[in-house]
């Protein structure tokens, strides 16, 4: 049997929408999906220089981006309309946009809770609600949400972030039930500690202590999460739905 490669996964010519694609895991996902032959539209929040870099690095006219605040449902709907105007379809949605505001419970401010839940949870709701009608109508599509190991495993100073990621795992399971009759699969990828800007504080605080809790004794790379997304998006995962795929070096086992 021929081993699968990025480009023979049934993704060429299809369209993906990725939220939060200018940096970190999101950027790796955008680049991997574009390398697999997809047209990729991504959102970013602030960093337009980083976004332009991602667009420029991709194959000609394969990647485009817009500044969208996923907390605003109307902006999400407008972006989706814009994407469909250009591409006429959306085959894959990757809910990746997320923020972190770690602190122990007593020190968390109202805003730390609000920003994290609004971005991570409501953001995924907003974008998914805007995209899914196109998929229902087409009777096909895939939704992949980036959650986190912290959605299942307790972590000090992460009550708000963990609550948001746990919510996204539950969101994934319920949406999988709702959309299965229309041929749409819904899955999640739960990364562990990945070397990105977002996890810098956690990694730098006590690197050895953190790594000692990871079975593979190292942090993950953004590409390693992107390959899991590629797999779930590909034809090789057509029979997988409602699944949470952990990409955490065994972090959750320790």
């Amino acid at each position: 049997m021929k081993a699968p490669t990025l480009t023979d996964a049934g993704l060429a010519g299809r369209v993906a929408l990725v939220t939060g694609g200018s940096r970190g895991i999101g950027r790796a996902i955008v680049e991997t999906l574009a390398a697999a032959g997809m047209t990729v539209a991504f959102t970013y929040r602030e960093n337009s220089a980083a976004a332009s870099e991602v667009v420029a690095a991709g194959p000609p006219s394969a990647i485009f981006a817009d500044a969208v605040d996923v907390r605003d449902s109307q902006s999400c709907a407008a972006f989706v309309e814009k994407v469909v105007e250009r591409t006429e379809r959306i085959d894959l949605l990757v809910n990746n946009a997320g923020v972190i505001r770690d602190n122990t419970l007593g020190l968390l401010q109202d805003d730390d809770l609000k920003v994290v839940l609004d971005t991570n949870v409501a953001g995924a709701f907003n974008m998914t609600r805007a995209v899914v009608p196109y998929m229902i109508s087409a009777r096909q599509g895939k939704v992949i949400t980036i959650t986190s190991v912290s959605g299942e495993k307790g972590g000090r100073g992460q009550t708000n972030y963990a609550a948001s990621k746990g919510a996204l795992n539950s969101f994934t399971c319920s949406l999988a039930v709702e959309l299965a009759p229309r041929g749409i699969t819904v899955n999640a990828v739960a990364p562990g500690v990945i070397e990105t800007e977002l996890s810098r504080a956690v990694r730098e605080q006590a690197p050895e202590q953190v790594q000692s809790r990871i079975l593979l004794r190292r942090f993950g790379q953004p590409e390693e999460v992107a390959y899991a997304v590629w797999f779930l998006a590909s034809k090789y995962a057509d029979y997988i739905t409602g699944e949470i795929l952990h990409v955490d070096g065994g972090f959750k086992m320790e």
């Binding site: 899914v132 009608p133 196109y134 229902i136 109508s137 709702e178 959309l179 009759p181 229309r182």
Partner: protein, 147 residues
Amino acid sequence: MNDINISKNEILALFPKVAETVADAVGCETEKVKLESSLIEDLGAESIDFVDIVFRLQRLFKVKIPHGKIVEQARGSLSEAEFEKAGVVSEAGVTRLRTFLSEVPPERFKLPLKVADIPRLFTVETFCKLVIRQQRATAATATPQAA
């Protein structure tokens, strides 16, 4: 909220396209879709099909149909509290619905009527009327007003 202003001819003119849309969404033969067919009871539509039908109608007729528009239009000037209590439509609300959904046979309004069950009443004609109302609303906002 006046159906008096929507003529049967207008509805019939729209019906073939709406019927085709409904058939595509629920996965049945277009011939099975009648003007008076109840989406749920007669055509076996599920709530997810309503999302699909509304989405398709929006694209086909180039109108915006916000979520919950039918119930909002039916409610008209009644406040939410006047329209329903604890998920059950009030007497005033039912009266309003009977007028607004004049295409629904009276015997199909089974009381007490839960808000969640209102979509069970919708027929294909309900969607034709919805599109006509939204087309008019779009035309009204697009027409420049005289100063």
